[in-house]
Amino acid sequence: MKILNSPVHPCIADAFTHFARSSPHFSIDAAAEFIESVVTGGQIRDAVNHELRTTLANNLYESPFWTTRGLVLVAAPSLILAVDKVPAHQSRVLSSLSQDAVVMSLTEGVHYDRYAMPADTRLDVLDPDVQLVMNGHAMLDRGTPLAVRAEVDVIDFYAPGEQRYLVKAMSPVRLDFTWSFDRTSLKPWNISGAHLLDDQIMTALEALEHLGGVEHAGTIEHYLDARSHHVRWKALQTLNAVAPERALLAFDRFLTDPHPHIRKAASEALN
């Protein structure tokens, strides 16, 4: 999702201000109400016309709201609102959503398959034996909101043969990981971080590992307590490269890390 300089489209600004005041924290009910209000109130069509007018006035216009699938109209910390094109085909890989969301179709003809993560799945540890549960197929009626719960639902939207569009209101990231599943086996494909920032921090740590020295150990140690186990582990590897004697001290605390893969790796490294 792109980060906008101006996080709210001018045609949605009033509606969003009202929503943000009454619902400072994302809830599915409030988001459904918000989506209904901007669809029936015509603000999304107004935003489309506003973008057309600006394009007409300036051929070189580089809109901050255009995306690879349509438009992002709100990119605030509490809510993302986007109009997205629906894929024509069922995807080969199914991905879980790390955010709660409410989805509404702007056109007829949107299909979806609904799957669920098995109950009691530990979501921060890739378990190759987990298998998605298929919960059926349906059409998404135009104008009817559909709730998608992070950590629970995996929904696959598609619109065979036609261009279709959805509007989606998404919460802040609820789950730090996105699971991907093979459509045929319904078994995990991989698990990846849901925060671009975590990926960027890991790239910066990698750069520090190669360009930096022991004088940067303090910076690296800051990330030994990172929320994401991917970042914690990368920080430990980086520290080991630039200041191995300080990394040795850190290995001990990783023996009791909350993530089992890190506990195991730390134990193997010390032995």
């Binding site: 069509r45 057309l52 255009w66 094109k85 569009y165």
Partner: protein
């Protein structure tokens, strides 16, 4: 062909000095002038402290607070001239696993092995590591209409590696390159040049095996096309007139064509008018419109 340079210098520059130098001395509309910045870029690359300082500051930024610099997993904006014409960027190139599904996923995620051109000129230098390999082809943009599936005569030029202190200059809408993962972690510095008409020029993805245009990079012109496509499905009574005007006046031919496609959807009674207006479009775009 893509130009390879080995500027020799013993001096160093800071990013601020480098951007000041290009703002004062480089004409963004002259490839020769842009290439003349290679010496300054080499001086910047000899400065071994600014990038580690940048990365360290980025990591020290307060948790949850604003961080500036990285805008994707692999790229960080180090600075730009006041007018935004010249941008200085660092690119971080990670190796990928050598085989299996994970290798393919990683290569796709990091945009390796994708043959593409650029609609802007850029100068790049190896800063750290062995550097990525790149396969370089060229095409003649004057022979290209610019539609998916179009046959394009591609000429293979060379396989180059962006080693430390080596500079490559990529000519806009002429050089095509395929980046291959480096053997180990590598960093390059780029001078990106924004020309006024960039938003009107497409960036293509090529299929070098088949010798054709496989698609479009999502630069601003392609995002505009995708937005106009949306306007054919999400519209009100005011939308058709706006689409009609864009179809008449926009300088980008693909934009005009997509405006007509969306007009036909938003206003089915305007179909005859759409076909009449399409007479000014190139044949391949008219053919797409008919279907």
């Amino acid at each position: 062909m893509a130009i390879t340079l080995f500027p020799e210098t013993t001096e160093q520059m800071t990013p601020v000095e480098f951007l000041d130098h290009v703002a004062r001395n480089v004409d963004p509309y002259s490839d020769e002038s842009i290439m003349s910045a290679s010496h300054a870029l080499a001086k910047l690359a000899r400065n071994r402290s600014f990038l580690v300082d940048f990365v360290n500051s980025y990591l020290l930024a307060e948790a949850g607070g604003p961080r500036s610099g990285f805008y994707s997993m692999q790229s960080a904006l180090l600075g730009q001239t006041d007018d935004g014409v010249f941008k200085l960027r660092a690119n971080f190139w990670a190796p990928v696993r050598t085989s299996g599904r994970a290798a393919r996923d990683e290569a796709a995620l990091l945009s390796y092995e994708l043959a593409h051109d650029h609609n802007f000129p850029f100068l790049t230098i190896g800063y750290f590591g062995p550097g990525y390999d790149t396969l370089i082809y060229e095409y003649d943009k004057s022979t290209v209409a610019g539609y998916e599936g179009e046959r394009v005569e591609l000429r293979f030029l060379e396989k180059a590696r962006l080693e430390v202190n080596k500079v490559l200059f990529f000519r806009p809408s002429t050089d095509i390159h395929i980046q291959l993962p480096p053997k180990s972690f590598s960093i390059s510095l780029n001078l990106l040049v924004h020309r006024k008409d960039n938003p009107l020029i497409p960036q293509y993805v090529f299929d070098v095996e088949r010798g054709n245009i496989a698609g479009f990079v999502d630069s601003i012109d392609n995002l505009r096309i995708k937005f106009l496509q949306l306007a054919g499905h999400v519209f009100d009574a005011d939308t058709p007139d706006l689409l009609r005007e864009i179809a008449k006046t926009h300088r980008c031919v693909r934009t005009r064509q997509m405006a007509l496609r969306s007009l036909a959807l938003a206003s089915p009674e305007a179909k005859e008018q759409v076909m009449a207006m399409a007479k000014d479009l190139p044949e391949h775009l008219r053919a797409e419109l008919r279907t």
